[in-house]
Symmetry: C2
Subunit: 195 residues, 2 copies
């Protein structure tokens, strides 16, 4: 039903291979960082033939894309944010999810890589935008879904980035931070009841 399921009934072998590659990819990236990792490293760790890798992904950048997209999607699904309607509580959960995802993912790439960060930004914002646009459309609000969802997804990502880059001792928890910025985002959405 949902547009976010292009892959549901897939050949078990394909599913297995992709999972193996994804897991191996995360493992080796957390050890060597993204730049210095090779396709051979990944397939070796995964126990998958190198030719098979290229049957699924053109290169390691495509696998990075896939992994990030998949990872963030699973976080959304875990909290059932992909199958719900708009509410302040869900918006709050969404922002917290983004904060934790960015923070967690970044720490899993040693040393940090601009490529990695860039792909993460692209993929996460894309899914954010799609999800929020869906929320708005189901609301039947009079705001332009495309415009509002774009602005909101960028805003959320930017705030989450800033929060995750804050290495000071006084950085608040993701929940606390989210509560601070929640009114701003919600107002930005123009979805709260106007006074």
């Amino acid at each position: 039903m949902s547009s976010t399921f292009p892959e549901e009934k897939l050949d078990p072998r394909v599913k297995r291979t992709r999972q193996l590659l994804e897991q191996a990819f995360l493992d080796v990236v957390s050890q060597k960082g993204f730049q210095s990792v090779s396709v051979q490293d990944i397939t070796g760790k995964a126990g998958v033939n190198r030719a098979t890798f290229y049957a699924h992904f053109p290169d390691k950048y495509a696998l990075l894309d896939y992994s990030v997209r998949q990872g963030f999607r699973q976080e959304l699904e875990k909290r059932t944010l992909n199958v719900c309607t708009f509410s302040i509580e869900n918006l709050r959960a969404l922002i917290i999810t983004v904060c934790e995802f960015i923070s967690n993912a970044s720490s899993h790439c040693n040393p940090p890589s601009p490529q990695f960060e860039s792909v993460m930004e692209t993929q996460v914002k894309a899914q954010l935008q799609e999800l929020i646009q869906n929320w708005i459309q189901k609301l039947g609000s009079d705001v332009d879904p495309k415009i509002a969802s774009t602005a909101t997804s960028w805003a959320i990502y930017g705030l989450a980035m800033q929060w995750s880059h804050d290495k000071s001792k006084k950085r608040p928890s993701a929940e606390k931070f989210t509560d601070d910025v929640l009114p701003l985002i919600a107002g930005n959405l123009s979805l709260m009841q106007p006074a």
Copy 2:
């Protein structure tokens, strides 16, 4: 080199399939017990086609055989008991290994099954016998390796079974129990220096 490695360079696909089946088997057996578990349960859990199961094993009993053999072998390899020579310390480690393996394996089958116990006895004793025979032969002792290893493997298994079936509060630890019976087994082997 070692005779205990009939499978070293195996097609990655078959290695993968067997691991999946073995893991799924252990999972479902610990949930439903061995008797009531079906091939469909196993393959379903493993995400492996049912026809593929039969390409590897004639039935679930064969998989039970394989799993037990594999499991015990891995315990031996973990302690490098498969690539060492005889010594009292290694004999001690071996007995402890058997005690813990039996105790652990039995508790992973709910409800307990006579089939399960029987297969475990056969497989464990067979590997014990092979290993001890190897030890004796490398010693160049004058005892008959076949005879001595058979008696010793039976003795060890019997003692370990008795220990693992002892559900009383005063059951000693596997290490303590082993220290108690170690002189007996070693003497049985006639491998200690005669007075």
